[in-house]
Symmetry: C2
Subunit: 392 residues, 2 copies
Amino acid sequence: MLFLLCYNVNVMQNIYLDNAATTQPLDMLEDTYRQYAGAGWYNPSALYKPAVDAGRQLKDAAETLLSAFGSSTHRCLFTSGGTEGANTVILRGVKNKKNCNYVCGGFEHPCVDECFRQLAQAGADVRFITPDASGMIDPAAVLQAVDMDTVLVSVMHVNNETGAINDIQRIAAGVKAKNPDTLFFSDGVQAFLREPLADTSQIDYYTVSAHKLHAHKGTGAIFYTPKAPLKPLLLGGGQQGGLRSGTEDMLGILSFAKAAAHYHTNAQRFNAQIRELHEAFLAALGQIDGMHVLSPQGAQGCAHIVTLAFEDVAGETLLHSLEAKGIYVSNGAACSSKKGKSRMQDALRLPAAITDGVIRVSFSIYNTLDDVATAAGEIAGIVPTLRQYTRK
Amino acid sequence: MLFLLCYNVNVMQNIYLDNAATTQPLDMLEDTYRQYAGAGWYNPSALYKPAVDAGRQLKDAAETLLSAFGSSTHRCLFTSGGTEGANTVILRGVKNKKNCNYVCGGFEHPCVDECFRQLAQAGADVRFITPDASGMIDPAAVLQAVDMDTVLVSVMHVNNETGAINDIQRIAAGVKAKNPDTLFFSDGVQAFLREPLADTSQIDYYTVSAHKLHAHKGTGAIFYTPKAPLKPLLLGGGQQGGLRSGTEDMLGILSFAKAAAHYHTNAQRFNAQIRELHEAFLAALGQIDGMHVLSPQGAQGCAHIVTLAFEDVAGETLLHSLEAKGIYVSNGAACSSKKGKSRMQDALRLPAAITDGVIRVSFSIYNTLDDVATAAGEIAGIVPTLRQYTRK
């Protein structure tokens, strides 16, 4: 911080508002690191005591995560992250039967979307459900698409671009009522521990990622019911009951469990705090001419994501103007930030005037009310300036 | 340590000799952790400066690893470990052409072997080359199996069970001379930075793993030539040029690069030190009645692995007897330790008398001459005692 002060007074602040892309690791994970580096690094497949202890730590970590998910009946498969989780479920979770079909939300994360597009290219019948303008999936539209040949329905819990919350409990229940054999998968990467699920029993697969919850990149998990089919995506030494070969990432997994337990214990407080940031941010922004809030408001939108679109402003220019002030936001999901805006534009059918003017602001427990007030003030100040150059 | 002293004087020592299974993280990686947790945790796909800096760190890490590999022309794809690396190369590296065939070492790591067995089950022509009794693959046998329809040859660099070093430069050169279109892959997980390669130019794919070199589990890489075909195993956000979706594991990758740079700088010294441990261990063991050294000796065996077989002794019992003294060895590769001995028995055609009596002892820079002398002494003492119970 001192260094930054000396370096340039304009970038002395560091207001990180891209928490849907990744989050700062919790300070407490430094202790987890030390425990791992001291006595937790053994190979859990080996047979002597310290290795068996490592194996027990893995089991405990799985139980911690499942408890945070709210299930005592699901199983936990550790993965290298949300992407591997979704790929495993979609490409290895369901036997591709003759004449079967898949039903998929029309604005899923690319790790889901690309798998279904690959299946479709290979000739599968994949039914993409068009979201509303906030990215939300209508449960009725999903149910209408499901028939007796539907093997898998996939609808994400919280949309990573807009924060729209899908009512996956209702969707799962409806799907099962229409076809009890249809499996239901939800990408829970943005939702885990942020959006409670009262009943997880009809969710056959749920995937989560550690680094979205203040743990480390490179670790995730699939929660799945004992009856949900699952074949390995990675073949080899037969770790994790043969379902996912590869030495388990002890550090990543122990850190994920530690962060999840902490978040779980404090979930109500943390989520209220983030909701307060969300509301304070929007209140501080006020009414900006030509600004559209794309995220659904109130109970339909997840607290940590606010996506805004500005007429006659380039989102990327706004992003870099904020960057110059030490404020970091996204012009869309990080994983698609280098791919342009086409996915969001297509899915949400954005009006041409705002297509290029999208930024995503996303909060975490590390943000303060001052942070969001400052960011809102800067946005309100920068937008008219940028328009001087871009308005035709 | 104090705790252990109080707990049980018999287990006060901790002599870890299972370094082929995994290795203790370098102390210096605690600094890497702090750097990552402080300013290295940003999402490298994002567009603002700290994220761009993270992207630059990834690029630097790739260059560090490639330099340690000894190539300025290969590319580096980060993976979640050796297993994902091998799966990606074998299942996504080569287009399965009509009437094509594969040539594969007959005692590869399961992450290679299982992929080829899956291809064979799907109808592919896979030619497994029988190793010699030490696990080594005869280059002439490989070349004999290669023909104009061979698309991929896979021979591991150092065998993980016996330490046998395969002459992959000679094999790769021979393969290319016979069929310039055949791609050559080597699993370098046990060999990277331990066995130098003077010429990497004919190795199309080489896979490595961080945790075998004192970095963390959950990170690995594929080194591949620009001309070697490679399609993604994981689909999604398009990270790493679309070849491996999923947010990059910054901590794992930075730690791997740090450990590899350290090992690279000190390779000669470290490898000499480990060779000295190997020789001191064997010298201290001396001649034990009914003991067979399965690992090739001298230049044909990698310094860090010694695999022994004892007539009329159960390897697992020996392992647990040593464990009681705080000495940790393996009764085979950790990834197959719970699967029984059948792979090794089959591949090496072990005589029935020693099939069950195998232990693998593997060294690292953290071991001392005292460690190996103590371990050898305990083995020499325990084996006759165990035979009192098992000899018929």
